[in-house]
Amino acid sequence: MRFEGTKDYVATEDLKVAVNAAITLERPLLVKGEPGTGKTMLAIEVAKSLGAPLIEWHVKSTTKAVQGLYEYDAVMRLRDSQLGDTRSSDIANYIKRGKLWEAFESDVRPVLLIDEVDKADIEFPNDLLQELDRMEFYVYELDRTIKAKVRPVILITSNNEKELPDAFLRRCFFHYIRFPDEETMRAIVESHYPGVKTRLVNEALKIFYDIRKVPGLKKKPSTSELLDWLKLLLTDDIDPETLKSRDPSKLIPPMHGALLKNEADVMLFERLAFLARREQRGGGS
């Protein structure tokens, strides 16, 4: 089982090594990086390229670690018992399997994605240490230990909203998805929109990296925003010349809504455009 990237996903060499090490040593891989650099996509593509089923566990701020294992719906059982439902005599009817259980029960080696682990409570990763390490857990209600048939490939993503505990980190491989350079970016664009107009892409990439360099942006546009933007440019069949023109009155690129997601950032751009206009007028007189 080796991951070599797919035709839809451009994996850099270091990413491949990290993924393959995680697969070979059967340990979780923690992936960090700017939002929109393809952390979640990675799991989907790894599953696709390994031909393995993908089990996704999206973590929210209310998610508890035990929910990944199982949940015992005591309230439902109480209700049922009041209504005289015979099912209520068997506790197993009220145990809901979580994503980890699902992954452990799988006969073929699955890919388990624990998405945005940092969204949950601080203690969340700590509560999963044993489960991720030994790939087994104990169900008190059923008096049974669930053990992984095959150790799943586990990918964990984090947006760095919270610090993860050391003990948790020590059990993982770590990869930080660096923001792609222009060359990689071109390969990524090519893999998403094959045969795209090169000139348009060149101009768009130039603008894109320029925007990323503007200091003070609240949210710098990332790969996924660039891809969305290019899609808009392509569907509207924008002329590359429009992008190329450095006319200050058009300093804000067309369809900027796809790139700038924050009204403060748009305002910043408008202000810059205004300044540039004034500068030009001042220079001309």
């Binding site: 060499e13 270091d14 090594v17 990290a18 393959n20 090490a21 995680a22 070979t24 040593l25 340990r27 891989l29 923690l30 960090k32 209310t62 309230v75 109480l78 209700r79 009041q82 601080i122 919270k162 610090e163 050391d166 980190l169 020590r170 993982c172 491989f173 770590f174 990869h175 930080y176 200091p215 003070g216």
Partner: protein, 391 residues
């Protein structure tokens, strides 16, 4: 096998443990990679580094161990540009003063000593007659009384702020320091104020029993979970006189990070003026207006200043008193504005309590924010500060 690599990583303060090292060895044993240096670099990076903050340090150690490149330490040491010193200082020295410099052994000698002392001196210095600092009689420093002093920053003759000669690239506060912060955390825990907000997803046992008894059938009552509702705005003094306290600050900072639901932080220098900043490396181009802070964060935020409040009194009371830029309004007005808006505000001061009464600027700050609101940066002081904040 790679023990030197391992120990050097630890020496460079990349937090690697034996476990990670063993995993690396195991990975090599299982042939997880093709045998070449690049792949080994990627593999060891994925195994040993668990945080992007350490990637840079790791790269330097790797280069050093496996290629014999320059030691990482060299890049860290700051250089003191001698020409820079000279050019800037010459600008505001009169001929008379220059003659006095000759009296002290000549320009070069003076600059050389200054350079030496800058390198030697690790801590902020106040008073005394040798080290560079404020209020002393050494020829080096500012607000001093030695007529032949080389003024470094501080007040110029024309009542105009002279830029500090040294635009040091203060290092960003590294929030990774976890050393000995446990007791700080415990003290900060006092600040937690739990409130029930959000969706009802917790069984209210008492409520359930009560309503079931009343209704005659099982009636489940749910309630929202308790969450920490405390919002904190942290304002940290960075650079200049705070250099010696930076470690304490770092510890506080790293402790605070994990303790509250909402925590915002900003940096200022010496005293609060019209702007603050978030990223210390970009402090000159990415500023946030202090007015924006006052408007953005409602008055139920708790404000924590961390600073030694040790500076020349002018920096607080006069417009243009700042050592770094020309400020239209004195720092005192800005502090007063904060004190007016925010009911719960404390100032944590790392200088020992015994010095407070002898430092006019500390007294000034205490007058503005309230005498009982300044606490020393010790566990005890922190405890008191948190008590004050949670009242």
């Amino acid at each position: 096998m790679f023990q030197r690599f391992f120990t050097e990583l630890r020496a460079a303060r990349v937090p690697v443990s034996l476990k990670e090292y063993l995993v690396l060895v195991e990975a090599l044993e299982k042939d997880a990679i093709a045998p070449n240096v690049e792949q080994f670099y990627y593999l060891s990076r994925a195994t040993l580094v668990k945080d992007e903050r350490h990637l840079d340090k790791f790269d330097r150690v790797f280069g050093h161990v496996f290629k014999g490149l320059d030691s990482a330490a060299e890049a860290v040491n700051a250089e003191i540009p001698a020409e820079w010193l000279r050019a800037l200082t010459e600008k505001f020295l009169t001929d008379e003063e220059k003659a006095q410099i000759e009296a002290l052994g000549g320009w070069d000698k003076l600059m050389e000593t200054l350079k030496e002392r800058l390198e030697e001196q690790k801590e902020r210095h106040q008073g005394g007659n040798k080290w560079i600092g404020t209020g002393g009689t050494s020829p080096y420093g500012n607000s001093g009384y030695n007529p032949e002093g080389v003024r470094i920053g501080g007040e110029g003759g024309q009542r105009k702020a002279v830029k500090v000669w040294d635009k040091r690239e203060y290092k960003n506060l590294d929030d990774s320091v976890e050393l000995g912060v446990r007791n700080i955390k415990v003290a900060l825990r006092r600040l937690r104020k739990f409130a029930r907000t959000g969706a009802p997803d917790e069984l209210d046992l008492d409520g359930t029993i009560k309503t079931s008894a009343r209704q005659g059938y099982l009636d489940i009552v749910m309630r929202p979970e308790r969450r920490n509702a405390v919002k904190v705005l942290l304002l940290l003094d960075i650079g200049g006189s705070m250099d010696s306290h930076i470690k304490l600050c770092e510890e506080l900072f790293s402790a605070a990070r994990t303790e509250f639901k909402s925590l915002e932080f900003f940096y200022f220098h010496n005293c609060l003026y019209e702007s603050v900043w978030k990223d210390n490396r970009r402090r000159h181009d990415e500023k946030t207006m202090t007015w924006d802070l006052l408007h953005k964060y409602p008055s139920d935020y708790r404000i924590v200043f961390v600073g030694d409040a040790t500076m020349s009194p002018y920096e607080i009371t006069y417009p243009g008193g700042s050592v770094e830029h020309w400020n239209e309004e004195p720092g005192a007005i800005w502090l007063q504005r904060f004190a007016d808006v925010y009911e719960r505000m404390v100032w944590l001061n790392p200088t020992p309590r015994a010095h407070w009464d002898h430092t006019p600027s500390i007294q000034l700050v205490r007058e503005i924010i309230g005498p009982d609101r300044m606490f020393s940066l010790t566990i005890e002081g922190l405890d008191g500060a948190m008590r004050e904040l949670s009242r």
